[in-house]
């Protein structure tokens, strides 16, 4: 049985030499990121090419994607949040396409690496901090001071609020990465059971059971792939809402 974590191994495809002892290379992870970006780019360039009043299939897909993100931003971040639609849309589409690409057998799942999801979360939280301070100045730090609380309680509550804020990028990145990692490992293990049972003599009669479960998990993985991209987008909007209105 192949190791269930072998699929997450990063292999260099083209190496550009070494900088400071670490190898700089175009890896399979980079390849699948590039494929994801190419798919998104093609979908939207090709899909919006005709701009017909009655959309074709691709145009309908592109429009649905845009409208879905735009309404999510409007619901969660409010009307002033609409200027962040490009950011949220890019993040959502990238995560969604990477998640779905990873479900193709043999493909590499970019979002199952903590580095990638942490980088995406860092983009979000840095946007929140930089925009919040640029727009509201010191007033942005009012985010850490809950209203209507006795001043003595603030000694405890302000550190709690700060920790809560710092934990946001961590929960944002760990959630996406852990869901994808766990799902792919579970899938590989149950698929491995099928092969093991087939070659285990009389136990072959049991082999359809893990096969059925594998099929069910694949369906669940599709749900998780879309759901996690959506959750990432919604939480980005909620955090951006804090940058826009720090006074709660």
């Amino acid at each position: 049985m192949a190791s269930p974590i072998e699929q997450f191994e990063i292999k260099p495809i083209v190496s550009f030499g070494k900088i400071g002892g670490s190898e700089i290379a175009f890896t399979n992870s980079g390849l699948f990121m590039a494929i994801a970006v190419a798919i998104i780019g093609l979908l939207f360039v090709y899909g919006t090419r005709n701009r017909s009043l009655v959309p074709g299939r691709l145009q309908a897909l592109a429009e649905m994607g845009y409208e879905f993100v735009a309404s999510t931003v409007k619901d969660s971040a409010g009307h002033d949040g609409m200027k962040f639609v490009p950011l949220v849309f890019s993040l959502f589409m990238f995560v969604l396409v990477c998640n779905l690409l990873g479900l193709i057998p043999g493909a590499f799942t970019v979002t199952s690496h903590l580095v990638v999801t942490a980088a995406l979360a860092a983009i979000v939280i840095l946007t929140v901090i930089i925009y919040g301070i640029a727009k509201h100045g010191a007033h942005f730090f009012g985010l850490f001071v809950p209203k209507g609380v006795h001043p003595l309680m603030l000694i405890i509550l302000v550190p709690i609020e700060v920790i809560s804020f710092v934990s946001r990028p961590i929960s944002l990145s760990v959630r996406l990465f852990a869901n994808l990692l766990a799902g792919h490992i579970a899938l590989k293990i149950f698929a491995g059971f099928v092969a093991t049972l087939v070659f285990a003599g009389g136990w072959i009669v049991l082999s359809p059971l893990p096969l059925l479960l594998t099929v069910a998990i694949v369906a669940l993985e599709f749900l998780v792939a879309v759901l996690q991209a959506y959750v990432f987008a919604v939480l980005t909007c909620i955090y951006l809402h804090d940058a826009l209105h720090p006074g709660h």
Partner: protein, 124 residues
């Protein structure tokens, strides 16, 4: 509803005055506004439902809680290392981390927000 309005009398009633046209336009306007606000409220309710459904919510709550504790513990460790206050920085900040984790969960579950909404609606 609006379809009926559009199909309405129109050309079949030649004795139409400007005033009646005006009033009909107004009532149509009001009807449209009502329908669109209803649709908006419905979509908001639906999105809230989708947001709070099943695995997504469960996954979210657990990671929110754990992230709070990890950050509290990490900050405590860093404070102890920098200021040599071991083990008190870790103890205090881990406790605060638990507090932050619980607050994250309460916030993520939308309990705090709904209470704030109740309050503001009661004041209004």
């Amino acid at each position: 509803m609006t379809g009926q309005d559009e199909k309405g009398p129109g050309p079949r009633e030649p004795a139409e005055t400007d005033a009646s046209l005006e009033s009909r336009l107004k009532s149509l306007d009001a009807g449209l506004k009502r329908v669109s606000s209803q649709a908006e409220a419905e979509s908001r309710r639906e999105s809230a439902k989708a947001d709070s459904s099943g695995i997504g919510q469960a996954m979210r709550l657990s990671t929110e809680f754990i992230a709070g504790i990890i950050v509290g513990g990490g900050l405590g460790w860093a404070v102890d290392k920098w200021f040599g206050t071991a083990p008190f920085g870790m103890i205090v900040l881990l406790m605060l981390g638990f507090g932050a984790g619980v607050m994250n969960v309460v916030r993520a579950a939308g309990l705090m927000k709904s209470r704030a909404d109740d309050k503001s609606s009661a004041q209004n």
